[in-house]
């Protein structure tokens, strides 16, 4: 039987959740025995080359590229996991929610003390900034949530093993944390 295929992405996140995946330490060797990675920053495969079983997404959606990417993952993955606070609630990037985008851009690119002669970036190459940062489940259907900033390595490991073995997710109190 072929191995389950896993894809991962970091949208509006800091890559801390991916670091936490690496924090499973030597179990990563077991993991690469158990699964095959497809599109992921871990192996630097940039586009989907096949349908995947599990998609793991860190970060929320702050721009149009994030949304496209997320929809692509939903299309190519049977199971989608929202990994970490940014994916689940927007996280720190969502601190701009509630402040109009115009104000945010002006603060960052025009009025910030370290800016002189600022311009607000406006190039066709750049993804459009969304009105606010959205958690993943407000854009596509999400199957599992693993909270934490970042989620604990043990939480990620337990969840992956359970999914691979077709068992219910194990979420012990000690590893489910929002911070």
């Amino acid at each position: 039987m072929s191995k389950p295929v896993v894809a991962t992405a970091s949208l509006a996140g800091c890559f801390g959740c991916h670091m936490s995946v690496l924090d499973i330490d030597e179990r990563i060797l077991t993991l690469i025995d158990l699964v095959e990675f497809n599109k992921s920053p871990i192996d630097d495969i940039k586009t989907f080359t096949k349908q995947c079983d599990i998609g793991i997404i860190e970060g929320g959606c702050c721009n149009s590229e994030n949304v496209e990417n997320l929809r692509l993952f939903r299309k190519h993955c049977k199971i989608l996991i929202a990994l970490g606070e940014c994916a689940i609630m927007g996280g720190l990037p969502a601190m701009r929610n509630g402040i109009p985008v115009k104000e945010c851009l002006e603060e960052a690119y025009l009025n910030c003390p370290t800016v002189d002669d600022g311009i607000i970036p406006n190039d066709d190459e750049l993804p459009m900034i969304l009105d606010r940062v959205y958690p993943l489940h407000e854009i596509v259907k999400i199957d599992y949530y693993l909270p934490g900033c970042p989620p604990m390595a043990d939480l990620i490991w337990n969840a992956l093993v359970a999914l691979l073995e077709g068992k219910p997710l194990d979420l012990p109190y000690e590893v489910v944390k929002f911070d």
Binding site: A82, E85, I88, M89, G90, G91, L92, A94, M95, N97, G98, I99, R132, P135, H137, E138, I142, Y145, L146, P147, C149, L171, Y173, E174, V176, K177, F178, D179
Partner: protein, 231 residues
């Protein structure tokens, strides 16, 4: 004094006359979650997390006195899911960013979310625009995290009994205001008490910071209500 007999989820419990369901449950070793309730303060019945069912009717266990023969339903899937939904509403109604909150690990709202295993709220986030007020010398108020439990309003008073905090405005704009003069006179001890009284990270003492590291905080290893159930 007469003893009142009643049951919670079939377990025989006793109460003294005048005790609320929450008080009597607690002395019988049964945990009913509370959030706006605080030992020693007059119950406000504001948050409804303590909702129990008595003869098919939902009521706030922190304001309802026990009556003889009462059959209280507490730990049922329906009630627990309703509690979870209240927690979820409180999360989406404010702006809760636990990773940058000084109360994280010591926060009762977060601890309840852990206990009822909230992974993602079922309601959309509202992202209200709320303000942070740093004008009180020994405390700052972060309206983003306030759940309007009124514990500060009920519990923090000046020497002459005047209230330091109070509700301002109505509906979605409701927030906690303070009397600038009285708040300015709050001493170190009162500031500490205010931070303890506040179940969330809305009243934070200045000049202290993250005193206890992650992993060693109150609810990091022990679920809220755990002491009661182990006892």
């Amino acid at each position: 004094m007469s003893e009142i007999k009643f049951t919670i989820d079939g377990k025989e419990c006793t109460a003294r006359a005048g005790q609320t369901i929450v008080e009597a449950a607690s002395s019988s070793g049964v945990y009913i979650p509370t959030l706006c309730n605080y030992d020693g303060l007059k119950p406000a019945g504001a948050c409804r997390i303590c909702t129990v069912s008595v003869a098919g009717r939902n009521m706030a266990a922190c304001t309802t006195p026990v009556a003889s023969g009462m059959m209280v339903e507490n730990n049922t899937p329906e009630i627990n899911d309703m509690r979870k939904s209240i927690i979820e509403m409180l999360f989406v109604e404010g702006n809760h960013m636990c990773p940058v909150c000084e109360k994280s690990g010591n926060c009762e709202l977060q601890a309840l979310a852990y206990r009822y295993l909230m992974l993602a709220p079922r309601f959309p986030y509202l992202w209200p625009r709320r303000s942070v007020d740093a004008s009180i010398p020994k405390l700052y108020k972060d309206g983003n995290r306030c759940i309007q439990c009124l514990r500060c309003v009920r519990g923090i008073t000046a020497a002459d009994g005047r209230k330091v905090f109070g509700l301002v405005d109505r509906g979605g704009r409701v927030r906690i205001g303070h009397d600038p003069e009285l708040a300015a006179s709050l001493g170190e001890e009162q500031a500490k008490r205010a931070m303890e009284l506040c179940p969330v990270g809305s009243l934070i003492r200045k000049g202290v910071g993250y005193a206890v590291p992650i992993g060693k905080r109150k609810y990091d290893g022990t679920p809220i209500g755990g002491e009661l159930e182990r006892a």
